[in-house]
Every structure is written in structure tokens, then in C-alpha cells.
Amino acid sequence: MAYKIVKSQCTACGACEFECPNAAIKFKGEAYIIDPDKCTECAGQADSPQCVSVCPVPKTCVPA
């Protein structure tokens, strides 16, 4: 139960990083990545996965 970021799509804007309620998203090297152990898919914290909602690029934050 986690999301991941499709690296080739990501513009590295960082919006997902500070919307994630679990601090699961970090900038590593060249891109943002989601730590699957921390990601809860925002269950119980928001109506929808926050990274998906804020990401400007469609189909970039997707279920792992």
C-alpha cells in the first residue's frame, strides 16, 4: 500500500514533498522518491492521496 513517483514524468517541483502528511517524500539525488514504508496512501488523513492531487503532471504519482 504505497504510491510511487514516475521519475521520467516528474519535474522535481517539490509540491508533493510538502503536502505529504507523512513526510514520505524526499529529494534524492536527481528526483523525488516516496518511501513505501512511510506512505499510507493518505488513508484517514485526506480524501485523496495528496501527492496525486497536487502534482502538476498527470500519471506521475501512481500506485506502486
Partner: protein, 488 residues
């Protein structure tokens, strides 16, 4: 060429030396901001804008700005923006070359401030939204303010997150904010913004545009109420928001916006924006001017915006960003602000001089009864005619008549003198660019281009090299019409 004056190796002992340095190295500039000078402006407002190259047309001749791209995250999506490449909020499409942390940005500002005494403003203007990505914006401003208290701070935002930070903005002495507002009509907004992200949720369509508009108006009211100068930017999109632009101009003026900057949509398909891909065209220069003219008595219009990159450095109309990339920055930058203080001193006296000279020339032209005339000027800044015709990457267009000289717009020109030899192709492009402008004033021009320009009906004059722009234009106008009167 980005040949801003570098005072690095110079001892600024006197104003004369600085004057000489300006003539030699020159500093690039262009035109900007409110046309109003101190005479017709509230002194409190003038104090805020007098050194801001984007807010005061006079200041653009003397001062430089820099943008740092520290806040790339955005809370809305605009159809004219593609963040894979750049943000549209306030930057010309083109990749922002570096993504900076606040610490890196502060180091860069320090390095530029030490090199470029004209620097007076640091702005955060995309890609992304400076008020949404607030932690990075604030951290950057905090660091800079501690080390360079004389540099003014400004930011630009779509307004959605702005109301949450207005108090901090006031507390941090940020006294200029740019809000991008494209329409008052949520139906129209829905055609510009596919979605917004607000309070944890993505909203779409008219609902999204309604929330955004309401927050934009709230931002404008809050900022104005606290004495922050607000410039409103609008992207003119033919067939979408052009009809409402007049009304928008009236409303933002009534709410106290200081400047309204109506900018053309840039929609090259190569930039990959929604509008670019769907073939939405940008306005022609004539359409843009027609809308700007119709808004003439609305909020002061800004006619000189360069739609700069979000990481531009230098005088408006130039970009020295490549000289200050991270890998070129010194580890430790020493700066005591002395050069900037000396430079500002010099500017104060130079401005007085220039104004007095213009007043004198004005008196000469006051009784000329002739139609207004357009004049193009090649300048590197300092308010003087000091650029070689072949080096101009843009022409500043002025209009003159008996009531005085007014800046009208700038027109871009590709560097005629690429690599030291002129290119016929570019020259014909310049002739097209200068349509309707019979005279060009520059510091120097070769015989070849002068003859070709003359054949096209455009006179290129280098007799008033180094003169103040206003003075030279007024003298020319007065002389022309005296001559005309004799031969007639």
C-alpha cells in the same frame, strides 16, 4: 552582450570616474515601470519605487534586479504553463537552469550584489508560486535580509495562498508584490486554469476558478490595506480573456493596485503548454497595444515588461544569469555594500542632472506645433544614448511632441552585428521591427547599415552619442521643426 558595468576592479573615488566607467563599459537597461517620476507621485510611493527597475520607468535606467528560482512548487495549473520546462507566472519560457536551495540562493545573491552595484531588488517569481512554496521563499528572504539589508525584496504569486502569509510579508518588509490575475469571470477562468489545489483538495472547472478569484481579490485588498505596493499581471489571451480586460483593469485600479501589466500570451507549441499544443495563439503587438490603450486611464500601465526568466540577473532586458551559476560562485563572498552605496549616490546626482537637462530641452520644444513623432533609441542604460546600433538587442521607442517625451514600448531586435559583421537578413528584420519609426538614435553606426536603413526610410543618427535620451529627442524634434518651418 551583457555588458553591465562591473565595478569589481574600480575604485569609485568620484562621480566623474563613475561617469567615465559608464560610458566605457556601459550598463544595459531598458524601460520599465510607471512613467511617473517624483513630480507626479505621492512621495511615500515614490520612495518605495524609485530604485525598483520594474516599478518605476525611470529606475529601470539605473537599477538591476535578480530572480532566484527557489520555490518551484505551485498550487494551480495554468494552461499557459508547462512546469516541465518553466513557469509562466512571470518568466519567459525556457528552462530555469538551476534549482536552488535557500542557502544556495542567498550565496548567489551575495555574489551578484558584490559584482553588480546596480542591484537593488531580489524577486522570487517562479517557476512555481512564491507564496505557496512559502517556507523556501521565507528562508531565502530571511538569509538575504540579514546580509544585505539594502536590497529590496519582492515576490509574485497567483494569490491562492497569499492571504495566509500577508502578515509575515508585512513583517519582513516586503513592500512589492505581484499578483497574476487573468480574469474576473469564473467561466473564463475555467478556460485558463484546469485545476487548483486548495486546502488539501484538487478543485476543477468553474468551482476552481471561483475560489481562485475570491482569494486573489482578498490578497489584493489585504496587501493594499497594509500599504504593500501591488502590481497586477494579466496574460492577454485572444478570444479568451481579452474582452474582460478593461473591466479587470478598472477593478484592480479601484482596489488600489499600483500598476497593471498586461502581457502577451506566449504559446509556442515547442514549450509544450496546453495552449501551445491546442494552437491557442498569442496576441499580435497591435492587439496588445489596443487593449493597453483602451485601459489607458485605468491603473498605471506597465508597457515595458520583459517577461524575464525566473532566474534572470541584471538590468531589465539583459540576462547575466549564466555568469552566476552555482559552479561559478565563490565559496565566501565579501561585500560591504560600499559600491552599491556609492553607485546610488551617483545615481541621485545623475538623476537631478538628467531632469534639469530634460526640462531645459523641453522649454525649447514647447512651442513646436507639429504632429507627434516616434524615435527609437539604442541604450545600455543610465538614461543615455550609449549603445552601438549593431549591438542593440532591442530598441526603446519614445514618442515626442510639444508636451514632452514619453516612453512607448520596446521592440526586440536580433543582434545586427553578430560576431563583428553585419548580417543583411537581420537588418531587414530590424527594418520591419521599426515600422512607423522614422529615426533611430544610437552611439555609433557603420556607413553600410546607415545607408541601407536610409534606403528603407529610416534615418540612423549617431550625433548625440552619450546624451540623455529625453534631451536628445527633444532637441531633435525642436530642430527638425524649426528647419521645417524655414524650408516650407
Amino acid at each position: 552582450m551583457a555588458d553591465i558595468i562591473s565595478l569589481g576592479g574600480l575604485q569609485i573615488a568620484s562621480r566623474d570616474e563613475l561617469g567615465k566607467a559608464m560610458e566605457g563599459g556601459g550598463c544595459a537597461a531598458s524601460s520599465c515601470g510607471s512613467k511617473a517620476g517624483p513630480a507626479d507621485m505621492d512621495p511615500a510611493v515614490w520612495a518605495k519605487v524609485k530604485d525598483h527597475p520594474c516599478y518605476s520607468e525611470e529606475a529601470h535606467h539605473y537599477f538591476a534586479r535578480m530572480h532566484v528560482a527557489v520555490a518551484p512548487a505551485c498550487n494551480i495549473q495554468c494552461n499557459y504553463c508547462n512546469r516541465k520546462y518553466d513557469c509562466a507566472n512571470e518568466s519567459r519560457p525556457g528552462v530555469v537552469s538551476e534549482r536552488l536551495t535557500p542557502e544556495q540562493a542567498a550565496r548567489k545573491v551575495l555574489a551578484v550584489a558584490a559584482e553588480v552595484p546596480q542591484l537593488s531588488v531580489l524577486g522570487i517569481a517562479g517557476p512555481g508560486d512564491a507564496a505557496y512554496d512559502w517556507r523556501k521563499t521565507r528562508a531565502t528572504f530571511d538569509l538575504v535580509q540579514k546580509q544585505l539589508p539594502d536590497i529590496k525584496l519582492c515576490l509574485s504569486s497567483n494569490g491562492l495562498a497569499m492571504p495566509d502569509h500577508v502578515d509575515e510579508i508585512v513583517a519582513m518588509n516586503i513592500d512589492h508584490v505581484t499578483l497574476t490575475i487573468n480574469t474576473l469571470d469564473p467561466e473564463v477562468g475555467a478556460k485558463i486554469y484546469p485545476w487548483i489545489f486548495f486546502r488539501g483538495k484538487r478543485h476543477e472547472g468553474v468551482e476552481a476558478a471561483t475560489i481562485l478569484l475570491q482569494r486573489q481579490m482578498e490578497s489584493l485588498d489585504m496587501l493594499v490595506a497594509r500599504g504593500v505596493l501591488v502590481k497586477v499581471n494579466s496574460v492577454l489571451i485572444p478570444g479568451i480573456n481579452d474582452e474582460g480586460m478593461l473591466e479587470l483593469n478598472k477593478v484592480v485600479k479601484a482596489k488600489g493596485a499600483f500598476l497593471h501589466n498586461i502581457m502577451p500570451l506566449i504559446s509556442d507549441p515547442a514549450h509544450g503548454t496546453h495552449f501551445g499544443l491546442t494552437g491557442q495563439r498569442g496576441p499580435s503587438a497591435a492587439e496588445l497595444k489596443a487593449v493597453q490603450d483602451a485601459c489607458g486611464d485605468g491603473a498605471n500601465l506597465m508597457r515595458h515588461c520583459r517577461q524575464c526568466r525566473a532566474d534572470a540577473v541584471g538590468m531589465l532586458g539583459e540576462d547575466r544569469g549564466q555568469e552566476f551559476t552555482l559552479d561559478k560562485l565563490p565559496e565566501v563572498v565579501g561585500d560591504d555594500g560600499g559600491k552599491r552605496a556609492a553607485y546610488r549616490d551617483w545615481v541621485t546626482r545623475e538623476r537631478e542632472d538628467r531632469r534639469a537637462a530634460a526640462d531645459a530641452a523641453q522649454a525649447e520644444a514647447a512651442d513646436v506645433a507639429a504632429p507627434p513623432m516616434l524615435v527609437a533609441v539604442c541604450t545600455k542604460g543610465g538614461g543615455r544614448i550609449n549603445q552601438h546600433f549593431g549591438h542593440a538587442t532591442e530598441f526603446q521607442i519614445y514618442e515626442v511632441d510639444a508636451s514632452g517625451v514619453r516612453f512607448v514600448t520596446h521592440r526586440r531586435a536580433d543582434n545586427y552585428c553578430v560576431g563583428g559583421h553585419g548580417e543583411g537578413e537581420t537588418l531587414s528584420e530590424i527594418i520591419r521591427t521599426l515600422e512607423g519609426v522614422p529615426v533611430v538614435l544610437c552611439a555609433r553606426v557603420g556607413d553600410g547599415p546607415r545607408a541601407k536603413m536610409a534606403a528603407a526610410g529610416i534615418e540612423v543618427i549617431d550625433a548625440c552619442a552619450q546624451d540623455y535620451i529625453e534631451t536628445a529627442i527633444l532637441d531633435l524634434y525642436a530642430a527638425r521643426h524649426r528647419k521645417g518651418a524655414l524650408t516650407a
